[in-house]
Amino acid sequence: MLQSDLTALWLTIKLAFITAILLLAFCIPVAYKLAGYKGKFKPFLEALIAMPLVLPPTLLGFYLLVLFSPTHAFGQFWFWLTGTQLAFSFQGVVIGSLFYSLPFVMQPLVAGFKQINQTYNEAAIALGLSHYKRFVYLILPLLKPSIGSAFALGFAHTLGEFGLVLMIGGNIQGQTQVVSIALYDHVESLNYAAAHQLSLILLAISFACLVLLFKFNKSIVGVKQ
């Protein structure tokens, strides 16, 4: 296996892991609020979160590239803060992935919170448990399977990212070249043996992620008692 492929593989796993962890940290409190929110903006918020599901990744990539550019206020702010540019950097790709995989992490969590809210949370309120105790000792332990599902989905979905990374990260070895882009390179240069090797590894990892996901799904606690 080529050294560059190993680097791409490691980079992809690192990207997927960081993205899934950051998304969990962001989505758990937001999903908690969203699951209990019944206001008139609910459909707008839900649509906003689901947008990356339907948008072409290149569209997301295009707008993020514009945002990251040194001519844009956000790009300038980032440069002032860190001294580096976001466009064509690993950090930039991570930010792009956060948008790209957001619905895959948010939706299982919202569904999990809703299920817990309807049944167990109300029983705990009626028992007289405080808000903090309910969240820490009841809701979070009950949410474990949903957190597992959300992580597995966010991780697996980021693994397969292509268009968005290409748009905002380019194809820089060790920086932004993920497995899907390395694979594209091999096919373009007709190096099918390397392409097969990389594809099989990606297939195996993705399959393992989905097996784990369904294992978590199976252990989700049902409402039925």
Binding site: T119, Y120, E122, A123, A124, I125, A126, L127, G128, L129, S130, H131, K133, Y137, L138, P141, L142, K144, V221, G222, V223, Q225
Partner: protein, 342 residues
């Protein structure tokens, strides 16, 4: 003491309740499905609405549920599925703040006979077992006002009477007040001292449970259930029956262990009673009670007779034909044979 003024628009009617509950141990709320019973309970506990509610002369309507000193056991209340039975009980005792009773976990487990269930996964419990564990968990929240919404609907009658007796004992021992909602008048009559009848969101009757229950029975053209208080004299091992003595009376009954083990009161349906003006032979060895006819009313073409057994009440039903032929008068001494007790 509980005082509340509620107004809430529901789907088909308005819940409009002005209620004052003075001294009570167990108060029952009776009404048909959809009469606003559950909403009333949710308002008292703080799960719904910000209505005017005073508990022991303190306003609580501005307080969240966990600060009201009230525990509500909602209908089909779930157990926490990530914990086993023992875990559910320990969880409640550990995390419920401001416990006001010193009811221990062991006391609750013993009272409700939960020892064999402790290690069980909550998903594997039967409906009746689950309701007993849920009730134990509610008790362990440690509050002095406990509100129960159809808590024992999945239990069969002997077990239900037994648990209701346990509940009465706990109410007396730990000074816990219970408000219990049920669509079963039999259940409420057995355990409650006060009864509230709700219909279409309004209180239409309130008072001592015997009186309210009788009014409801008469209204529904049914004969009330009779409840007799007794003391146990002895257990006759040869025949496997208890000798009971009616409270404040010399009269005795012979009763199978099943009926006694449910505790406290003997439940007698009107169909179990046959009356006669002539003293049956060997009546001292059979289940015959001497009583006085205190009133007779026509209910749906039958006659409902109210009998006084040394201060306690029996209700029985006679067909119009038997009533006309028997010539009973109010004040007569009659003999009530009670069947199916042994």
């Amino acid at each position: 003491m509980i005082k509340l003024t509620l107004f809430k628009a529901l789907n088909n009617f308005n819940l409009d309740i002005n209620l004052q509950l003075e001294s009570f141990n167990i108060a029952g709320v009776f009404g048909p499905s959809g009469s606003g019973k559950s909403t009333l309970l949710r308002c008292i506990s703080g799960l719904e609405g910000k209505q005017s509610i005073y508990i022991n002369n303190q306003p609580v309507h501005h307080l969240p549920s966990d600060k009201r000193g009230v525990t509500l056991q909602v209908q089909s209340c779930p157990l926490f599925p990530h914990l086993d039975v023992a875990g559910n009980l320990a969880f409640t005792q550990k995390h419920c703040a401001n416990r006001q009773t010193d009811l221990s976990e062991q006391e609750v487990i013993t009272a409700l006979e939960l020892q064999p269930l402790l290690k069980r996964n909550v998903q594997s419990l039967s409906g009746g077992e689950r309701q007993r564990v849920v009730f134990a968990r509610t008790l362990l929240a440690g509050q002095k006002l406990i509100i129960l919404d159809e808590p024992f609907s999945a239990l069969d009658w002997p077990l239900r009477f037994k648990i209701l007796t346990t509940m009465s004992n706990l109410a007396a021992k730990f000074n816990i007040k219970f408000i219990i909602v049920s669509h079963s008048l039999k259940e409420l009559l057995f355990c409650c001292d006060t009864l509230i009848q709700l219909e279409k969101g309004k209180v239409i009757n309130q008072g001592p449970s015997g009186l309210v229950a009788k009014a409801i029975y008469v209204n529904n053209k049914q004969t009330p259930l009779s409840l007799l208080n007794y003391d146990i004299i002895k257990f006759d091992e040869k025949y496997g029956v208890y000798h009971l003595q009616i409270k404040q009376s010399e009269q005795q009954l012979f009763v199978s262990p099943n009926a006694v083990e449910q505790g406290g009161k003997l439940v007698i349906e009107s169909e179990q009673i046959a009356i006669s003006a002539i003293k049956p032979i060997h009546s001292e060895n059979t289940n015959v009670l001497v009583c006085i006819l205190t009133s007779a009313e026509v209910i749906d073409s039958n006659w409902q007779l109210t009998l006084n057994v040394d201060g306690q009440t029996l209700y029985c039903l006679l067909s119009a034909r038997v009533w006309d032929q028997s010539n009973y008068n109010v004040g007569d001494t009659l003999y009530a044979a009670i069947h199916n007790l042994e």
